[in-house]
């Protein structure tokens, strides 16, 4: 039997269609699309620099502060970011540099003037592992599964409708084995992430906040990283001083590390 829309019932059908349209974009996104879009929200996809300040807290009290300059550019082959990080403060660490280029991590110390390969687990500063501070495209290193929709509170205790996405590492150099990730529907803003080890142990909890319009997009400017093993420890990473910058590919060679000219 052919279905027809009677003239009297069309407003109902339009309203129903509107409701369906309004509710289905979330379903139209695959997990991979969600992660790719939230990657674009977290980080500009053109070469850029930013200054990251890491403040460590112990039992809620500020203990230490470090400042780093990060230069980032995507590798067109892998779609993953390459990063060059320079320590700015405190003075005892000034001039030290970390390079993530082509999947390898290198550390340069201006005192010894040598570049040595380091592992992702080696600590950068405070509770932040190197992988926490480096700019990464999660879509390049993790396989994503959409677990469903959830309403969770963000760092400011505002309730947000989120996609709950589970990420499993597909790359050996991914900092964490598994990530549970909550992304706000519609805006693709990251709200919260739980990071797990190979053994399934919850290592860190991250909340994203300070959503500000930067370089054309609303992005999080603060990440609160909570140590899930020792919950008295937390690090707040604040990004500022963003700018697009032409970064040659050769900057991501380890032998370039001594030549980095500060802005």
């Amino acid at each position: 039997m052919a279905m027809t829309i009677s003239s009297r019932s069309w407003p109902l059908w339009v309203a129903l269609g509107w409701v369906l349209l309004a509710s289905t974009p979330a379903r139209a996104d695959t997990a991979a699309q969600i992660i790719a879009r939230t990657d674009e929200v977290r980080n500009p996809q053109q070469p850029f620099h930013t200054t990251v300040t890491l403040v460590e807290y112990v039992s809620g009290r500020k203990r230490d502060q470090n400042t780093l300059t990060v230069y980032a550019k995507t590798d067109p082959r892998t779609h993953q970011f390459r990063n060059l990080v320079q320590y700015v403060a405190p003075p005892r660490d000034a001039g030290k540099r970390v390079l993530l280029g082509g999947g390898a991590l290198w550390f340069y110390d201006p005192a010894s003037k040598t570049s040595v390969r380091i592992s992702p687990a080696q600590q950068l500063v405070g509770q932040a592992a190197i992988g926490d501070v480096l700019t990464v495209n999660l879509a390049a290193d993790y396989g994503a599964t959409l677990l469903g929709s959830e309403s969770i509170e963000d760092a400011g205790r505002t309730r947000r409708e989120c996609w709950h996405v589970q990420l499993e590492a597909t790359d050996d150099l991914a900092t964490y084995s598994r990530v549970e990730y909550w992304v706000e529907q519609g805006t693709y803003l990251p709200i919260k992430a739980d990071f797990y080890s190979d053994s399934g142990r919850l290592l860190k909890i991250a909340y994203y906040r300070g959503f500000t319009r930067i370089l054309g997009t609303t992005r999080p400017t603060q990440t609160v990283i909570i140590d899930a093993v020792d919950k008295s420890l937390a690090t707040v990473a604040t990004s500022a001083d963003y700018g697009y910058q032409d970064i040659p590919d050769t900057w991501f060679q380890r032998d370039y590390l001594p030549h980095l000219e500060t802005r």
Partner: protein, 463 residues
């Protein structure tokens, strides 16, 4: 599905969502209050590193050594100003300076005196950017190579450069050293780099310096530029986990071929190999030749212990791995080999000659000269050692860095060990304590050294 089952599932779902919210709430409570305001940005220049340090060292000396050792200080007080900085000159040039001014007093120095002031001009050079990623540098440059921690056989410009270090940690020795006057060309491409360096002969080679014979403001080119030397090295990215570096070095004595390669294994392990091969004489022969050439040993000084008569292909390598634990301690374990070092036979002869110097044709000073030469060259005295180092930043959740190492002679089990603690009182102030000791029998490599143990207390102010 019956209504009861549907109702049960609904309750379960509600209970689960309640658990999720509860967990979320408890996580939110962990966010430090008052952490939302953006921190003040640092105005410090990243290239600048200046500090003033005061260090007091006490040393316990051994008595009745099988080979009587030269005298040494048993206390030392040092005040040092350490400066590293760089300045942009025009659009394409940079000036780099690295210097340390020492004021020192110690038990074997008179005070006041010329030797109480020693300036170490580590680096002073200009670097021009000739084109994108092509650089030419001239001046006193610290050109370092090698990826191992405890021993760097491919660090060809390390010889004779260490200047009065406060620590025996090999990672610190790489910092407290003089550069070499050289012309250095470097080109960096997307797949690797090429470096070419030429260090000219500027002065006749000087004898091995003792801590009581240092000049105050002499840059000492007789240590760093006593012969023409060339280095060509190149690294290439074969894959993301393999970017070997090859080196060719030539000086008046030999041509050496070197290799550095490292790879990451998973999240926590880095494995590495550093190797150098050359056709050369052994350490004893090189030390005796150097001593006679510089006048430190008389021309008639006997070949004791007897050196190898000929040059032969000798291998020097450091192979090891680093491992970072879940509580952020990084361990490095390395095996070191230097085929030019003392063999068991050499050690036996060294102790036998030293025990009977009255009857032997050699003096104790001449025997110690060989080991002093190895130290001056930063080469191993012995053939095989094992090296273990640990570093723990933010130890016990405090602003404390703990590090330590042990270097063990695999022939006799003797060794040296050191533990160091640095407590960061603030961004500007650091308090340091270091304890070091040598262990082993009196007729062993490290057990025969004059110094038994030492302790150092330091305070450092960064600017």
């Amino acid at each position: 599905m019956t209504r009861a089952i549907r109702r049960g599932l609904l309750l379960l779902a509600l209970a689960w969502s309640g658990a999720v919210v509860a967990q979320s709430d408890s996580d939110l409570a962990l966010i430090p209050p008052d952490s939302q305001s953006p921190p003040k940005l640092s105005q410090h220049r990243a290239e600048q590193n200046i500090y003033l340090e005061n260090a007091l060292t006490g040393v316990s000396l051994r008595d009745a050594l099988p080979v009587a050792a030269p005298p040494s200080y048993d206390w030392q007080e040092r005040l040092l100003l350490d400066v590293r900085d760089g300045w942009q000159v025009g659009r394409t040039a940079r000036l780099i300076l690295s210097d340390r001014l020492n004021l020192r007093a110690e038990s074997d120095l008179s005070f006041p005196g010329r030797e109480n002031v020693v300036n170490d001009l580590r680096e002073a050079y200009v670097e021009w950017r000739l084109a994108d990623q092509t650089y030419l540098a001239f001046g006193r440059i610290n050109l370092k190579s090698g990826i191992a921690l405890g021993y760097n056989p491919t660090d060809y410009f390390k010889a004779r450069t260490v200047s009065e270090p406060l620590s025996a940690d090999p990672t610190v020795l790489r910092e407290d050293r003089l550069g070499t006057v050289m012309l250095r060309f470097q080109h960096i491409s997307r797949r690797g780099s090429v470096t070419l360096a030429f260090a000219p002969r500027l002065r006749r080679q000087s004898p091995i310096y003792s801590n009581t014979g240092l000049s105050s403001f002499d840059p000492m080119p007789g240590r760093t530029n006593s012969e023409n030397r060339f280095l060509l090295k190149s690294s290439i990215d074969l894959s993301r986990n393999a970017s070997p570096e090859l080196l060719i070095y030539h000086d008046g004595h030999a041509t050496r071929l070197g290799l550095n390669v490292s790879t990451t294994l998973g999240q926590s392990v880095v494995a590495y190999l550093e190797e150098s091969v050359a056709r050369r004489r052994d350490l004893i022969a090189e030390a005796l030749d150097f001593g006679r050439a510089t006048g430190a040993l008389p021309p008639s000084a006997p070949d004791e212990p007897p050196p190898s008569p000929d040059r032969s292909l000798k291998n020097a390598l450091a192979i090891g791995a680093s491992y970072t634990t879940s509580n952020r301690v990084t361990w490095n374990l390395e095996y070191h080999l230097d085929q030019a070092g003392f063999t068991s036979q050499d050690w036996n002869r060294w102790f036998r000659s030293g025990s009977a110097v009255a009857a032997a044709p050699v003096t104790a000073d001449e025997l110690w000269y060989i080991r002093g030469y190895a130290l001056d060259q930063q080469e191993q005295s012995t053939e095989q050692t094992a090296f273990l180092r640990a570093d723990w930043t933010d130890a016990f959740g405090l602003k404390l860095e703990l590090s330590g190492f042990a270097d063990v002679d695999l022939r006799d089990g003797s060794g040296q060990a050191q533990a160091e603690a640095d407590y960061y009182l603030s961004d500007a102030w650091t308090l340091g304590f270091l304890a070091a000791g040598d262990f082993g029998s009196k007729r062993s490599d490290f057990g025969s050294l004059h110094s038994a143990c030492s302790a150092l207390l330091s305070v450092r102010r960064y600017f």
